[in-house]
């Protein structure tokens, strides 16, 4: 290919701004305004890539999204991007690209010999060949030989952002039709218009026009648009998805045209667009001609040659030949000649061509070959010769050889394919138009209109006569998908093997499955299939178009939701104090809570032992703020709660508190907690920590969907209150020291009672319940005062060596006591009878949510997994939750360990579990399997510590 350092006048590159760049380790020079592809061509690089399977040399085919050959690895290290289309990469200073799938480089690829193996590597080759002994024994080899770019191995240092935008009219594509649509829509000042285009600058095909009138029109249109306040202009933005309700997704390349630098602006921005009306002005893609060895470098689309000439000012050839089946390529050839550039010949498969075109071509000194096919090409590293044969009158066979032409570039045009991907994604129907052999939009499903060439309005007559493949010669080297090495013979093979559905043929041959998703190959593959099957093209149909239209960076989908922001996290009111105390935080649901507070060099087990012994022997303090606090108001509140809990709420007196279990309608336990009756029509529900929101939703669902007659209000006040659990034999002594009006003496405030008053001058609620088995006060103050209360209690407890304790220590303490923790000791099958609640339920007269399900056969199965204590026979034995309890013959699982800790108070392991039929097997010996080994254990009642339960009354 010719090296064109000088540019033609009128080119849209700035020759006063040269830019140096690297390709495959060699320095080159281009100009501002170049794409990487135009810069590579300007430097005479004809081979810029290698194909996926056969390592055939590949040259630039197109100018934009349709490019399937010029894929490069852009930059290196963390900034590396595989499969970048050289046509879409704007040149920047210092750009560094390398060719892909080649060794040592794309010019001299040692695996290029693969190309000779084409006939041994047909479609389905992989499926048929690598079956023995299995695919995995070959995978490593395939992965080495076949492939494209390499994914970067380190984290992406650049940022991404997602943003939503609403508009009345969204115009996609800023060529002539799109600009016209945007101008007319934005004439109404109240209409919010969004104009989007994927190129560096607006103009679409106008940018490649050699006509001054076109350029003037473009400048005028842009000036008008820039002046309007009601239009938003998005350049470098590709609309990738068109979804229901006119929602679209688009990727804006905000700063990646600046190269591998980290700037404040994100690299890319993913726009989610909510559109009133959509105008698709997405243009059309030119199709390759299908003929033997049509994949040789130096063979490109006729429109691409025109754009490289008129937009980028390149002189690519001294002897270019045009090969076509329609009129548009003639006009490109004539425009080239008009610009004073040589055109050797036009080869056309049609026997008759518009007289005026013929006349002009003859006048320009162009050789003309009508009714002629190119039947072969030759040339190393670029096309040097094409062979011509006359096509017989029937169109299905060849006549004699005409001649061969020595050339240095072949520009082809097999017709035009409207870019209807987005239209198809929107649900719109397509119809086949015979006159241009293309699919055009028919019935729209959403509020969308398609204009210009995307709608098949080509503006100039094409007079196309399709020739899907060259007749009478082997189809083996007639390429359809240049990237994935799919040829016409592969489609024919698929059809012979009875793959007649277009979707199956696509997957069997991989035609159109390449990075460009068949933008140039699909329609030709369809034509070959239709011809092979002897059916009309519309009957064969198209494959379904799915998002994304163009590959989208995964980082853009993530946006800022990475690392620490991967999911929302909730912080306790006294978080900073826990941090200062050296807490180890863990996520419990969304809550970030102290798990334990290790001293210097202290292990988790030692910390848990120290903290739990402090609670057993002295006093400990736990931040219990996530404890659910739902308030239920209303004249029907009591009736409602009686339907919600398995427990009898009708008999709960004002000021009283009661443990309650909640089921779903399937009878499965979903929550437990303490219900407090604050007034006849006002209740407080302490739900499981972290479960408050789910239970709030559960209650509102029943009130809104089922029991609309009940007058009940539910108010989630969980985070209004900081709740601290003060627990241990010295808890009362500590609490007494704080100023307040609640009598916390043993006589005045018994276990399972609730008080409201003031503490430290703030409103305060105290519940005496116990999840540790020791005397406990669950003290709540408005959350903003939580840190002060924490500090006050720690100070007051100093003389008793008060220890802050974390959630893991709480879990140890309650496991010692055999107290159930919903979600740990219950699973998605646990019913209340499995927890020993059957007798209590029987006493309750009224129905409640899930009750009827308990009486289904599944609820009566004697082998249900039931809640039990588990004691290891070896006093020094250890077990972890999740270990299996084996059936008596050891062949299967009959339950599992749900909670297990080493108890420092008892000096041995305490464990809880769900075990088949456990309630009738108390004392029975079992075998536990965990961590690869078995050990003997026995079933016991839950609650190994303080079995009499006296400590909590102390």
């Amino acid at each position: 290919m010719k090296r064109t350092v000088e540019r033609l006048s009128g080119a849209r590159v700035d020759v006063s701004r040269p830019l140096t760049f690297m390709f495959d380790g060699q320095p080159y020079r281009g100009f501002a305004g170049d794409s990487l592809a135009s810069a590579l061509l300007a430097n005479g690089l004809s081979v810029v890539g290698r194909s996926f399977k056969l390592h055939r040399p590949r040259g630039v085919l197109g100018t934009g999204k349709e490019e399937c050959n010029a894929l490069v690895q852009l930059e290196s290290g963390a900034f590396s991007e595989p499969n970048a289309r050289a046509t879409l990469v704007p040149l920047y200073k210092g750009l560094n690209a390398t060719g892909q799938n080649a060794w040592p480089n794309v010019q001299f690829d040692l695996l290029g010999a693969m190309g000779a193996l084409k006939r041994f590597l047909p479609a389905s080759f992989y499926y048929k060949t690598f079956m023995w002994p299995n695919w995995h024994s070959w995978e490593w080899l395939i992965r080495r030989v076949a492939g494209l770019g390499a994914a970067p191995l380190s984290a992406d240092p650049q940022g991404y952002i997602k943003q939503n935008i609403h508009a009345d009219v969204v115009v996609i594509g800023a060529g002539r039709s799109g600009l016209q649509a945007a101008l007319s829509a934005s004439a109404d000042e109240s209409c919010r218009v969004l104009l989007i285009d994927e190129q560096e600058e607006f103009g679409g095909a106008l940018l490649a026009s050699p006509l001054d009138a076109d350029r003037q029109w473009l400048d005028d249109a842009l000036a008008q648009l820039e002046a309007r306040a009601n239009i938003t202009l998005l350049r470098r933005t590709t609309v990738n998805g068109y979804y229901d309700n006119n929602v679209l997704a688009a990727l804006e390349r905000v700063s990646n045209h600046l190269g591998p630098v980290v700037v404040e602006r994100p690299r890319e921005r993913l726009w989610r667009i909510f559109a009133g009306r959509v105008v698709l002005a997405t243009g059309a893609l030119e199709r390759p001609m299908v003929f033997p060895n049509n994949d040789r470098p130096g063979i490109m689309l006729a429109s691409a040659l025109a754009e490289y000439t008129h937009r980028y000012g390149l002189t690519l050839a001294e002897r270019p030949v045009f090969y076509t089946n329609n009129d548009t390529a003639w006009r490109r050839a004539l425009a080239l000649a008009d610009a004073g550039l040589p055109v050797l010949a036009i080869v056309d498969t049609r026997t008759a061509v518009d007289g005026e075109l013929l006349q002009q071509a003859e006048a320009a000194g162009i050789d003309i070959y009508l009714g002629t096919a190119i039947t072969n090409t030759a040339g190393r590293g670029g096309v040097r010769k094409v062979t011509l044969h006359r096509i017989a009158a029937d169109g299905g066979s060849l006549g004699g050889a005409v001649t061969s032409l020595r050339c240095d570039l072949l520009a082809m045009s097999g017709g035009w394919t409207p870019t209807i991907h987005l239209y198809s994604q929107s649900g719109g129907r397509l119809q086949y138009r015979d006159s241009d052999a293309c699919f055009v939009p028919a019935d729209a499903h959403q509020s969308v209109s398609v204009v210009g060439r995307a709608n098949g309005d080509f503006g100039e007559p094409a007079n196309l006569q399709p020739q899907w493949l060259t007749p009478d010669v082997s189809s083996e080297k007639q390429w359809l998908d240049f990237q994935y090495d799919v040829t016409a013979s592969d489609i024919q093979l698929a059809a012979r093997e009875n793959f007649v559905s277009v979707e199956h043929v696509k997957r069997y041959t991989t035609n159109g499955m390449s990075v460009d998703q068949g933008k140039t190959s699909n329609i030709n593959g369809l034509g070959v299939l239709a011809q092979t099957l002897g059916r009309p093209v519309p009957e064969v149909g198209t494959t379904r178009f799915r998002p994304p239209y163009h590959p989208t960076t995964v980082g853009a989908f993530a946006g800022v939701e990475l690392g620490a922001l991967y999911a929302p996290y909730q912080r306790l009111p006294a978080h900073a104090l826990h941090e200062a105390a050296g807490a180890v935080f863990e996520d419990y649901g969304a809550w970030r809570r102290p798990a334990y507070y290790p001293g210097p060099g202290e292990s988790e087990e030692r910390a848990l032992a120290r903290e739990s012994l402090a609670v057993r022997q002295g006093v400990g303090l736990l931040d219990y703020s996530p404890l659910g606090k739902l308030e239920v108001h209303g004249p029907d509140a009591r009736e409602f709660l009686n339907r919600v809990y398995i427990n009898n709420i009708q008999t709960l007196k004002v000021g009283g508190a009661r443990y309650g279990l909640m089921l779903d309608e399937g009878g499965i336990v979903i929550d437990d907690g303490i219900v407090v009756c604050l007034a006849e029509d006002h209740f407080l529900l302490n739900t499981t920590s972290g479960g408050a929101q789910a239970i709030h939703q559960h209650l509102e669902e029943w009130l809104q969907c089922e029991w609309l007659d009940l007058e009940v209000i539910v108010n989630n006040l969980t985070s209004q209150w900081a709740t601290l659990m003060l627990s241990g034999p010295k808890a009362r002594d500590v609490l007494c020291k704080l100023s307040g009006d609640i009598d916390v003496s043993r006589e005045a405030f018994a276990h399972m009672q609730f008080r409201e008053g003031t503490l430290l001058g703030q409103p305060c609620r105290i519940l005496r319940a116990s999840f540790t088995g020791e005397v406990s006060f669950e003290i709540s103050v408005p959350a903003g005062h939580g840190p002060a209360l924490w500090q006050a209690l720690m100070t007051a407890g100093d003389e008793y060596d008060i220890a802050p304790f974390g959630l893991e220590s709480l879990m140890l303490l309650r496991t010692e006591k055999g107290y159930l923790h919903i979600g740990s000791d219950t699973d998605g099958n646990t019913m209340p009878q499995d927890l020993g609640w059957a007798p209590a339920i029987e006493k309750k007269p009224a129905d409640f949510i899930g009750r009827r399900s308990l009486a289904q056969a599944v609820g009566k199965d004697p082998d249900r997994f039931q809640f039990t204590g588990i004691e290891l026979m070896d006093p020094d034995g250890r077990v972890e939750s999740g270990a299996h309890v084996l059936t008596s013959d050891g062949s299967s699982t009959a339950g599992y360990v749900t909670s297990a800790f080493h108890s420092p108070s008892l000096g041995r392991t305490v464990a809880l579990g769900l075990v088949a039929g456990a309630h009738a097997r108390d004392g029975e010996k079992i075998t536990i399997f965990g961590q690869g080994s078995k050990q003997a254990a026995r079933l016991v009642k839950p609650g190994a510590y303080d079995e009499a339960g006296e400590a909590l009354n102390g």
């Binding site: 800022v560 912080r571 007058e711 209000i713 985070s719 704080l738 005062h785 002060a788």
Partner: protein, 190 residues
Amino acid sequence: MDNAARESVLAGHELARERFSVRENTSLGLIRLQAFHRKAGNVDAVARQLGLPLPRPCQSARDEDMQLFWSAPGEWILASPAGSEREIAQLLQSRLDNSALAVTSVVTDSRVTLELGGAAVRDVLARGSTLDFHPSQFGAGRCVTTRFAGIPAMLTYPEGGEGFLLFADRSLGHYLLDWFAAASADCVAE
């Protein structure tokens, strides 16, 4: 022992960029008003008994130094100067007591209130929620609860205000500040 000191959610942490800023607002005391709203006429009766201009869905209103925000059917957030909310809640409850048409609860501590400002504020908001933040669609007096940065949040552009107010669960205050810092990284001087 002395009265317990009060700590704000963000304890002074804030975000100040050239074109976007986040600051915690600690000047508001918040009351949640919930009416038994299903019976026809109840909501009107509540408004009458309280003598308050209860706003309609997705609206806010103002009554002397109280701002009223619609948050759900039959549910409003009333914002008054911090420190006054307990007294006001009691006063309102006393006006309601005979009818049992609604209940009030002080919720100041359950919420974090963020003031969002700067030239790019609407752009940053559009990164957290799918709502339309164009001034023609989200002007003064609008108040919505939406999915913002993955969490439920109430957003309002109060009458006579100078930016947006965002209300969310207090436990999410630091998450929101971190999220805003990441999502506004480009809101530096142009």
